[in-house]
């Protein structure tokens, strides 16, 4: 376990450095947007990891309810925390990118809005955990939120998309063809962040299970 941890730590650092190189040196400069477009690689990678992390919380919330194994609860909690960190990065990098390109910091675009709602759902999840003393209840209630919250995401997305198509969309997202080297840089950023996620998960789950053991020591002797 220690070895794996060390390997992941080093791999994450190297990959992120390489990812920076890919984004800033390897990928060509976008003709219209210029340098600010570079944020795109990390923006997309963070979004991907955030969604993946919440998916992990969802899966381990179900597993916890079925198996009652508290390791699953630790994993669900850790993943939600790391997920919300990446979700925050998405919500910060988005406006930084949007401001020079679209002329506004914020737009109620379906993806952006859904990500914001997602952030609030998991902020609630983390707060809830802080406000329940009994480990058992905390895990069960949090699992309920972890499951319901994730199932809610596509419904939120569709409702917001329909809402935005009824009203004319002020800003259309510039999509379409991505230069192959840009695509490579983006995929590389996703890889780097995935490894970073794994490294952080390993540490965070370890902290969670140590905290649980300390709680147990206090309880059994007190």
């Amino acid at each position: 376990m220690k070895k794996l941890q060390k390997f992941l730590d080093i791999a994450a650092i190297l990959l992120i450095v390489a990812g920076l190189y890919m984004a800033f040196m390897f990928a060509p400069m976008e003709r219209v947007m210029g340098a600010v477009q570079k944020i795109f690689y990390f923006h997309v990678a963070s979004a991907w990891i955030a969604f993946f992390a919440f998916f992990v919380t969802f899966v381990f919330s179900i597993l916890f309810l079925v198996k009652q194994n508290f390791l699953f609860d630790d994993i669900a909690e850790s993943s939600a925390e790391i997920g919300i960190m990446f979700c925050t990065i998405v919500l910060i990098t988005g406006p930084i990118w949007a401001r020079p390109i679209w002329g506004v910091w914020w737009t109620w675009d379906p993806r952006l809005t859904t990500t914001t709602i997602l952030w609030f759902i998991y902020a609630g999840y983390i707060m809830l955990r802080k406000f329940i003393e009994e480990a058992d209840k905390r895990a069960k209630f949090a699992a309920a939120i972890g499951i319901i919250g994730f199932i809610d995401v596509p419904i939120v997305f569709f409702s917001i998309r329909w809402w935005r198509t009824i009203h004319p969309n002020v800003v259309q997202k510039g999509g379409g063809g991505l230069h192959p080297d840009m695509l490579k840089a983006m995929l590389f950023a996703i890889l780097a962040f995935s490894v970073l996620y794994a490294a952080m998960m390993l540490k965070r789950v370890r902290i969670a299970s140590l905290a649980r053991r300390i709680d147990a020591l206090g309880e059994n002797n007190g």
């Binding site: 649980r212 147990a216 059994n220």
Partner: protein, 236 residues
Amino acid sequence: MSETLVEFKKVNKKYGHIHALRDVSVSLNKGEFVSVFGPNGAGKSTFLKLLCTMTPPTSGQILYENTPLNKLQDSFRSRFGVISHLPFLYSELTALENLRFYARMYDVQNIDERIKVLLEKVELYKRRNDKVRGYSRGMLQRLSITRALLHDPEIVVLDEPYTGLDTHASDILTRILMELFGEQKTIVMVTHNMKQGYDAASRLAIIKGGQLVFNEEKAKISVQEFDERYIEAVSR
């Protein structure tokens, strides 16, 4: 001999890393009155919760008349009557309305007749149309006994029933418990009160640190001996 009603086989209950019950094996026979003693946080309440199917064990098995817990129907819970230190009553409703509601939940027949008999037993019939909110602690507990016995349960489970009771209510409780014992009901009571617990019981048990450290028929042990065992168990 007497038939086994409930059997715990190496039952463990963990809350996270907290080990509330460790390898508890015990069987409960029909018609017994078991008093369970032990220090705070020893696992007594957890034991009761497991017993009345409120929570499943982490490992081990609990058999009810040789049927494992997970094979039981919801209707099996009607065989338990639970009296806790919480009243389990709605303060804005009258005694009668509270009892009628719980009677419906338990599918009791001849509801009004049954309620009348029980309320007279606990001397609350005259107050039946009063809101529970105005009841004293003793009256609440008497009503809560009525509530627990509405459906004529076979197994009566009591968690610290004497806490905060005046002598009158406590006398009524003792009288009702003795009556139930006489009717061959099975009674399990967790208590701090050594005297009341010892006097009423037919079997004595001590739980300490999640383990069942003592479990013996009362006939086999004198008050003094049991006192010593209890102090020994608790101080260790």
